[in-house]
Symmetry: C2
Subunit: 92 residues, 2 copies
């Protein structure tokens, strides 16, 4: 885990809508359509946000038939918080 990766994750979390999505996903895996229900944004906007969350590694996407299920990548999250807390040793 380096500062660049950390910065990317922090940028991903530093938007109100994406932080809301993050909170929703903390409760467990969710389909894109379910996430969309809880937010006042359009589908392309959600798609854009999910890409940012996935690209930085904080979220994982899993296609199941026609739906995409998203979940938090707990290892990435832990790497981020460890880095912030100064426990910069190894991993990810």
């Amino acid at each position: 885990m380096d500062a660049d990766r950390c910065l990317k994750m922090l940028k991903a979390l530093s938007d109100e809508t994406r932080l809301k999505i993050f909170e929703m996903l903390k409760g467990g895996k969710l389909c894109a359509c379910k996430i969309l229900e809880g937010l006042n944004i359009t589908q392309p906007t959600l798609s854009h946000h999910m890409k940012i969350l996935c690209d930085c590694g904080l979220a994982d996407a899993e296609r199941d038939w026609k739906w995409t299920h998203y979940s938090i990548n707990k290892d990435a999250l832990k790497a981020l918080t460890d880095w912030l807390n100064g426990e910069n040793e190894g991993k990810i």
Copy 2:
């Protein structure tokens, strides 16, 4: 610690310059002029960034004669990482 406060902290950390400052301060308390030395920005820009870091609670400012010393507020940092990790119980 609520999501709003968390969002403010994440926004504060989601800028490359401020994350560098954060890293510097993780090594210990620093004078503004020392921070400035390690960054290619002007003094007003640093002042602007320090205000953001202090306003969200992640950094503390301490005036000593004519110099201002900045440090990380470890309680605030822990509250942030706890919140991200889902340990949302109480405090700050």
